[in-house]
């Protein structure tokens, strides 16, 4: 930390320098700040109220997940994966299990694949609901957060009935599922989906045509398609900039190839378009769930693999469409029961690189909106 002190980059204590005299102020947001979605520290160099330059300092939540993976067996590492993006634990688990299955050349049975798809789509809706609530709260709308959490509660109840946990579910196992779908799961999911259609209209009514909401989000934090591709942003961030890229359509996994759904894209990549894209994604996820419950195929829920997994030496990269973007697992195995190396491609970390480019020239109030629209989760950024 000494180098930053030397460069005078730290905020001067007290207010000896005048507000008028100093042409540039360093404003330090975080790591303990109400609107940085976790322990992200943002150092903003301000000229008056305009942001001239910004620097994100991360690492406050680094737990060394990838190093731990080298001393755990494949099954033992599965719960660690849930703790990365703790808001969308189910899709983390799906990504890891499918990557190891691909490594071993095993295929999960169709019934397991359909149930996995249903749970992942429900998790996407839950993650987007949490994003919408906190994003609106940062911009000042106090009411949406309570509506969103009311719906999210329904989804978490379904998870709890299915695998006993609400947040870090560890719902899937390598090769299929641990638990059979509890009887009445179809009715619960159908009741949620029917009721969710009216609820999403409620959010739209509150925010979409709201003059102040449009004023605060239209034209804020614009990310052009070229910049998005150059940075490698994925998920709603790149789709809002007009690039039609979704792993569920490009490289279908689990049971996505059996269902029809559209990929919403935005035009000019500002916060308002990302808001519209995510709202549309929630509707599409609901469509997938409805189609999936129609016919959950009968059959086993677990492929025939031994108790002790010893995948053949080799490497695999498998990516899935997590709510935040492309979540990739690169696993290298040396034939033993423990992976030689597990590298995880976190969508939030890479989307965060677009932060500095989007925040320049905007005001302090917009910085908060931009952090919200990137939908980053620090567990995934720091790993």
């Amino acid at each position: 930390m000494s180098d930053t002190r030397a460069s005078g980059f730290l905020p001067q204590s007290g207010i000896e320098t005048t507000v008028l005299g100093a042409d540039e102020i360093i404003l330090n947001m975080g790591p303990q700040h109400p609107s940085t979605h976790g322990v992200l520290r943002v150092k903003l160099k301000l000229d008056g109220e305009k942001v001239v330059e910004s620097e994100c300092i991360i690492g406050y939540l680094h737990r060394g997940v990838e190093k731990i993976a080298e001393h755990r067996s494949y099954q033992q590492f599965a719960p660690y994966v849930d703790r990365m993006d703790y808001v969308a634990a189910v899709s983390n688990g799906l990504g890891y299990c499918e990557a190891v299955e691909k490594l071993m050349g095993v295929e999960a049975p169709p019934r397991a694949r359909v149930i996995r798809t249903i749970l992942t789509e429900l998790q996407r809706i839950a993650s987007h609901l949490l994003w919408l609530g906190t994003h609106a709260l940062d911009i000042g709308a106090l009411t949406p957060v309570f509506y969103c959490f009311r719906e999210r509660e329904e989804i978490l109840k379904i998870f709890e009935k299915y695998c006993g946990a609400r947040l870090t579910t560890h719902a899937f196992r390598i090769g299929g599922l641990q638990y059979e779908a509890y009887d009445g799961m179809e009715q619960d999911v159908r009741r949620f989906c029917d009721d969710f259609a009216t609820k999403i209209e409620e959010y739209e009514q509150l925010l979409t045509e709201n003059r102040i909401w449009v004023g605060r989000t239209r034209g804020v934090g614009i990310l052009t398609a070229e910049d998005a591709i150059a940075i490698g942003a994925t998920g709603p961030v790149i789709r809002a900039s007009g690039v039609k890229w979704d792993i569920r359509k490009a490289m279908p996994y689990a049971a996505y190839d059996q269902y029809q759904f559209e990929i919403p894209t935005g035009k000019n990549g500002d916060t308002y378009d990302r808001y519209l894209v995510r709202m549309e994604e929630m509707r599409q996820s609901r469509r997938i769930c409805l189609q999936a419950i129609e016919n959950i195929p009968a059959g086993p829920i677990m492929a025939r693999i031994g108790k002790v997994l010893k995948p053949p030496p080799g490497e695999v990269y498998h990516a899935i469409e997590a709510p935040k973007g492309e979540l990739g697992y690169y696993i290298v195995s040396d034939g033993t029961t423990q992976p030689y190396r597990v590298r995880i491609r976190p969508p939030s970390f890479i989307n965060l690189q677009a932060f500095d480019r989007m925040v320049r020239g905007h005001l302090v109030a917009d910085v908060v909106a931009i952090i919200g629209t990137l939908d980053i989760v620090l567990g995934e950024v720091d790993r």
Partner: protein, 443 residues
């Protein structure tokens, strides 16, 4: 000695009213906070404070005690003297402004000949409380908050002033009691004659009391708590009391000027006289609801409390019903008491209705950005209210000289003002999108 007593005789009643208001105000402010939390909860599909007393009715007392006991931190090299003075300034400005309001035809502390101007002047003193408070707590965040709130208050005070002038033109006098009597003479509230003035005043008053969607100075997400960051314990409670007193003052100005102070809706039209019976009926309804809910309370003491509240509403209903009955008690004809007693009810009813709109806006709208807030104030609100003042002036001249009926002239000028407002909005939109385009590629 009796010269002194003789001298003070005419001032005894206003002195009594003043003591009543100053004593009751912190209680009312506390219950407005509870009301706000309940309404907020109701809008957000939850229950709000339910633990302390039945339905949270004792919550304000609990809050007050907590704030009194809480430790009172003064920042290290803050300017202690000003740090102590600032909240006091805010509260006194708020309370002093309450002196000129006619809560009922009889219930008024001081019928000043410059009533409304006095209120505007004193409430503009409230800015010092915020600005000095922010400066004295010697922290970067509160200084930024203080600077922002000073700029916001000054610019929206002009808009509010112009909107009030719009209403005053119709009233023709500054004294608050005369304004309400003028509305009684003309038989309609001024909100129907000068609607634009009312709505510009509504928006300007929200901005003037620092409430969402204009609560920039203490926007939690950026400046933590604006000028109030370093205050805690009782000092912070003073700021809170000042904010709610300002809200009551602003609501009372709107009620007196636009919503016909103590008059019942549509005072002039006789066939609407059944409206006079609504106050007691409303109170009866409230009492019935309290008694209906009493058996459902879980704890014995809560049942007792709710029953007591029910009895209180019943008592109020009886008091309100008294003047309607054709009986004369002690030489005073009961009917003559009606405006006095019902007046207080109608005044408070309108003040709470106005504040309900405040709370309603707070929980539906996100927050404005600071430059949008300034742009709305200077580029839209002030020009519209100035054009509105000119419009009403022209309408009055047309009415007095050219003999047009007043409401016809006013409709014409209101439409003209709306046309100007629409033009300003369109220009604002176009400039807005151009500016946004520029900001995006400024890196």
């Amino acid at each position: 000695m009796n010269a002194l007593v003789e001298f003070f005789r005419p001032h005894l009643l206003p002195l009594l009213y003043a003591v009543v208001i100053v004593a009751v105000l912190p209680l009312i402010a506390g219950y407005i906070v509870l009301l706000e939390r309940k309404i907020m909860a109701d809008m957000q599909a939850r229950l709000g404070p339910m633990r302390v007393g039945p339905h949270g009715l004792l919550q304000p007392i609990a809050d007050a005690v907590k704030l009194l006991i809480k430790e009172d931190i003064i920042p290290e090299n803050a300017d202690r003297w000003i740090f102590w003075l600032a909240p006091l300034l805010s509260v006194t400005a708020g309370m002093l402004a309450l002196a000129a309001f006619p809560f009922g035809p009889a219930f008024q502390i001081a019928d000043l000949n410059i009533g409304l101007l006095f209120i505007l002047g004193i409430s503009s003193m409230g800015i010092f409380g915020i600005v000095l408070g922010g400066w004295a707590s010697n922290s970067h965040y509160s200084l930024l908050g203080a600077l922002r709130s000073a700029a916001q208050l000054v610019s929206y005070e002009t808009a509010a002033g112009m909107a009030v002038v719009g209403g005053l033109l119709l009233a023709g006098t500054l004294s608050t009691r005369r304004i309400v009597e003028m509305q009684a003479e003309q038989g309609t509230w001024f909100i129907f004659l000068a609607p634009i003035a009312f709505f510009t005043y509504l928006v300007a008053s929200i901005a003037e009391t620092n409430r969402a969607p204009f609560d920039l100075p203490e926007a939690e997400s950026e400046l933590v708590a604006g000028y109030m960051t370093e205050y805690s314990g009782f000092r912070w409670a003073l700021y809170f009391l000042a904010e709610y007193t300002n809200m009551v003052v602003v609501a009372s100005v709107a009620t007196t000027l636009f919503l016909g102070g103590w008059l019942r809706p549509f005072p002039g039209t006789t066939w609407l006289n059944f409206l006079d019976y609504t106050p007691p009926l409303l109170m009866l309804l409230l009492a019935g609801y309290c008694f209906y809910r009493t058996p459902r309370q879980p704890v014995k003491v809560q049942q007792g409390f709710l029953a007591a509240v029910g009895l209180l509403c019943l008592l109020l209903a009886v008091i309100l019903a008294l003047p309607l009955l054709p009986l004369a008690v002690g030489g005073i004809e009961a009917q003559s008491l009606r405006p006095a007693i019902h007046g207080g009810f109608w005044f408070l009813f309108k003040v709470f209705a106005y504040m309900y709109v405040f709370m309603w806006l707070r929980f539906t709208f996100p927050r404005y950005r600071f430059d949008q807030l300034m742009k709305l104030g200077w580029h839209f609100l002030i020009p519209v209210s100035i054009v509105n003042v000119m419009g009403i002036g022209v309408a009055l001249v047309l009415d007095r000289e050219a003999g047009w009926p007043l409401w016809q002239a006013l409709v014409l000028t209101t439409l003209l003002t709306l046309a100007v407002a629409a033009y300003l909005a369109v220009v604002g939109e176009r400039k807005d999108s151009a500016a946004v385009g520029g900001a995006e590629r400024s890196a």
